[in-house]
């Protein structure tokens, strides 16, 4: 029986050891990030001081540590699209927000992107969208990248749609897109092609104005 007791105590020691390591990891993630001053942010973005205050309060409430990592981001975004799987699109979105590719979104990134999307000029908005589509950031959108994006968007719709989602719907969508956007038919869309094509399309122009008063 003594042997039994001995082995049990040995086990528990091991567990403690492992727990210490976990604690260390926790320590690191508890590092807090503080944003730049309010004045600086006001200068950099198109938001007023008041709006920045409101934004920061909400942000800080949800992420007391001051940073959002990808997992949390995915979780939050998925909450808005319960029907389907929003994780893939959230991944692309996260990369678009995280312009410095640090792996986490700080308040500045958050607010900068919002400033562009809500208060920026048409060109800025389109540029941001181009960045979103250009997954590997090489300056060109090719068919594969576009297909990935479109498929991610369709994933968010989920299974139960009307009319029923066909398997080649994303591909068709991409083909239509490329027909419209790819002016010189070289198989890729550059930024200028993209902006030009969007400016020609009235629907897109009109829709861009819709999201101005989100905040």
């Amino acid at each position: 029986m003594g042997l039994v007791m001995g082995t049990f105590s040995m086990q528990s020691k091991q567990v403690d050891y492992r727990k210490d390591k976990v604690d260390d990891d926790l320590e690191m993630t508890m590092v807090c990030h503080r944003p730049e001053g309010l004045d600086q942010l006001e200068a950099q973005t198109n938001f007023s001081k008041r709006e920045l205050q409101v934004l920061y309060r909400g942000f800080k409430n949800e992420c007391p540590s001051g940073v959002v990592n990808e997992e949390t981001f995915k979780q939050i975004y998925s909450q808005f699209f319960p029907h389907g799987d929003a994780s893939t699109y959230a991944h692309y979105l996260f990369n678009a927000f995280d312009s410095a590719h640090t792996g986490s979104i700080k308040f500045e990134d958050f607010v900068t992107a919002l400033s562009i999307l809500l208060r920026g000029s048409t060109r800025e908005k389109l540029q941001w969208t181009f960045n979103l589509y250009d997954i590997n950031r090489d300056g060109y959108i090719n068919k594969e990248e576009m297909t990935d994006i479109v498929r991610a968007i369709y994933d968010m719709m989920g299974k139960y749609t009307y009319p029923v989602l066909k398997t080649d719907a994303p591909k068709q969508h991409v083909d239509t897109f490329f027909q419209k956007m790819d002016k010189n038919r070289d198989g890729v869309v550059t930024l200028d092609e993209f902006i030009l094509s969007c400016q020609e399309d009235e629907n897109i122009m009109r829709s861009l104005q819709l999201f101005e008063n989100v905040i």
Binding site: E62, A113, S207, L210
Partner: protein, 633 residues
């Protein structure tokens, strides 16, 4: 969706710009946000402690009081804040819920108070965070148990019986609660005494007495005085049989009674005697007969009706059945293991006691319970080693479940104590409540006699009533309205019971005499002051609204010296009726029958012989000091 995620919605909407170039159709128009999005700080004043928070924080949970428009009911225009007259300490936790999305249960608060606060603020307790959920659930369960105990104690079996109970019910109650009646108590003690006598007789029977003359051997007393013991036994069994049959007769549910433990014990206690009577005296069965006598000792269990502690012990054992079962099982396991080991260890030794494994069981049990009789001891070294291990482990195995049983017993015992204390307190509390009720009802009757129901046409009347609170005024007004509605008046118990008693006697005569007396009275005295009935402070719940009852007209103004007067003297006295505010030692009991003509103010005395036994109600402010009894008998 978690409310906290609402803060991310604007960002998600902004990110929708990314879909625009891909969109096949045009985007719908966004919803127009009517109210201004400016965030403002709200002040919430809870009993003086000011909390300030953003409006958005409260808006996170729109189905609670603070999150919905319900809080506008508590808005104070002058101070521009929301005022709640509630506990500020508790509010802190409520507000934290809005801020963090997690509701925590403060351990030092009473669970009921917390629940009430949650109910007030419209928060469902299910959202208590995991960290506090267990504690909350435990406390809530504990509270529920205590409440159910209280309600059980309230419906205690020693409340007075309903008046129309059959003798069978009374008998059953007498058996269950001996202290409800003297007879029951006597019976209780007598049975207790006989149980003791029977048990002692059983014991003494076997003691060796001095042998009868001519014999050498010591005889047990049972055989020496066999006749005496037999008579004693018979008497006891007769009492027990009688008791059992009585209980069986009185039991409301006979099948259930027969299955109950106590009744089984009763039967087992008396059966051996009857079987012994029936069985023949031959030697073959006398062995079995002797065995039966063993069952007589079960009479001692009958004491559990007389002792609460014994019942608690029995209940504890029952509730700890699982622990006891575990104890038994683990002991059995250990016994088998060690017995086997010891047997094989001692197998080689010559002349060993460990002849078989079952034989080794005895050794193991004696060793594990640290008895150590010494009738079986190991001789080999291996046997001794294992024997010592056996005794060490025995202590452990037995010591483990015992604290559980002990704690169970202590809990049940304390519960019982609490139940008894509750019952005692309940009596005191009820008495106090009854007294308070009496006070308020008396107040109303007093109020009436002091002319509160009339218009204040005289200053003196007004003065009398000045020292009553507005609450009392309004309450009395309400009671007055009720009287007017039902055309009856409040009175007291005594007067009412008197009327019930005398109505049957003096019914006929009352009619004529009452009328004549009243007419005489009315003719002689001033109209308004005529009928002054004696009122006594009473429980107004016995108000007389029995329309069918014809009540006598008893006028009774109580005073110490004067006894019942004749009618003539009454006539004389009525002139002495005066308005007197200070007199407090009487109250007027007015009983009236619902006959509308009779209820007009005192002046009109419609001589309506058609309505027998009408009592005039008088709302006079006058009353005398002298005792004048007008009865129509």
């Amino acid at each position: 969706m978690a409310a906290g995620v609402a803060t991310w919605l604007p960002f998600a909407r902004a990110a929708a710009v990314g879909w625009l170039p891909l969109a096949k159709k045009t985007m719908p128009k966004p919803p127009v946000d009517k109210k201004s999005r400016n965030d403002e700080i709200l002040i919430v004043n809870v009993s003086g402690l000011r909390f300030q928070t953003w409006k958005n924080t409260l808006d996170r949970y729109p189905d609670t009081l603070l999150g919905s428009s319900e809080k506008e009911f508590f808005y104070n225009e002058d101070t521009q804040e929301y005022f709640f007259d509630r506990d500020p300490e508790m509010f802190r936790h409520i507000l934290n819920f809005y801020r963090t999305g997690k509701l925590h249960y403060p351990r030092q608060e009473c669970i009921q108070a917390f629940d009430e606060e949650l109910a007030f603020y419209g928060i469902v307790p299910d959202i208590i965070g995991d960290c506090c959920m267990e504690e909350y659930r435990d406390r809530k369960k504990e509270n529920q148990e205590r409440l159910s105990e209280d309600t059980e104690a309230e419906m205690a079996t020693d409340t007075p019986l309903p008046p129309n109970s059959t003798p069978r019910e009374r008998l059953w109650r007498a058996f269950e609660n001996p202290h409800t009646s003297t007879m029951a108590l006597v019976f209780y003690y007598v049975t207790g005494f006989f149980i003791a006598v029977s048990v002692i007789a059983n014991v003494v029977e076997t003691v060796p007495c001095r042998p009868i003359k001519g014999s050498v051997k010591d005889l047990p007393c049972g055989e020496k005085y066999s006749v005496a013991f037999f008579c004693l036994d018979t008497a006891c069994v007769l009492i027990f049989t009688f008791e059992y049959l009585m209980r069986l007769f009185a039991a409301p549910n006979r099948c259930k009674f027969m299955r109950s433990v106590m009744s089984v014990i009763d039967v087992v206690a008396i059966m051996p005697y009857y079987i012994g009577l029936v069985m023949p005296e031959n030697e073959d069965v006398s062995g079995a007969f002797v065995t039966l006598r063993v069952f007589r000792v079960f009479r001692i269990f009958k004491f559990s009706r007389h002792s609460q502690g014994l019942r608690i012990l029995g209940y504890t054992l029952k509730s700890c059945a699982s622990e006891l079962g575990f104890l038994l099982f683990s002991l059995t396991m250990a016994i088998i293991i060690f017995a086997t080991v010891m047997f094989y260890a001692e197998k080689g030794t010559k002349g060993t006691n460990f002849t078989s494994i079952p034989a080794a069981f005895w050794y193991t049990i004696v060793t594990m319970t640290t008895l150590g009789y010494g009738d079986m001891v190991p001789n080999t070294i291996a046997g001794k080693i294992f024997g010592s291990i056996c005794s060490l482990s025995g202590v452990l195995v037995i010591a483990l479940p015992v604290p559980v049983i002990v704690s169970n017993f202590s809990r049940i015992y304390h519960q019982n104590q609490r139940a008894d204390k509750m019952r005692a307190q309940q009596k005191v509390r009820l008495a106090r409540i009854r007294l308070a009720k009496k006070g308020t009802t008396n107040a109303f009757l007093r109020y009436k006699e002091e002319g509160g129901l009339q218009d204040h046409d005289s200053d003196s009347a007004a003065l009398c009533l000045k020292n009553r609170s507005s609450f009392e005024h309004q309450h009395h007004h309400l009671l007055h309205c009720l009287e007017k509605t039902t055309n009856h008046e409040f009175t007291d118990e005594l007067t009412y019971s008197e009327m019930c008693m005398t109505e049957s006697v003096g019914y006929r005569t009352s009619r004529s005499t009452s009328l004549s007396s009243q007419q005489a009275v009315s003719s002689s005295c001033c109209p308004r002051r005529a009928k002054r009935r004696a009122i006594r402070l009473a429980n107004s719940t016995v108000s007389v609204s029995r329309g069918s009852v014809q009540e006598l007209d008893t006028l009774q103004v109580q005073k110490s010296s004067i006894g019942p007067q004749s009618r003539s003297s009454l006539n004389a006295r009525t002139e002495d009726l005066k308005l007197n505010c200070e007199q407090r030692d009487y109250t007027a009991a007015i009983i009236s029958i619902p006959t509308p003509p009779a209820n007009t103010p005192d002046e009109s005395l419609p001589p309506s012989p058609a309505v027998p036994g009408i009592l005039r109600n008088s709302r006079t402010t006058s009353y005398t000091q002298e005792a004048v009894k007008i009865s129509s008998l």
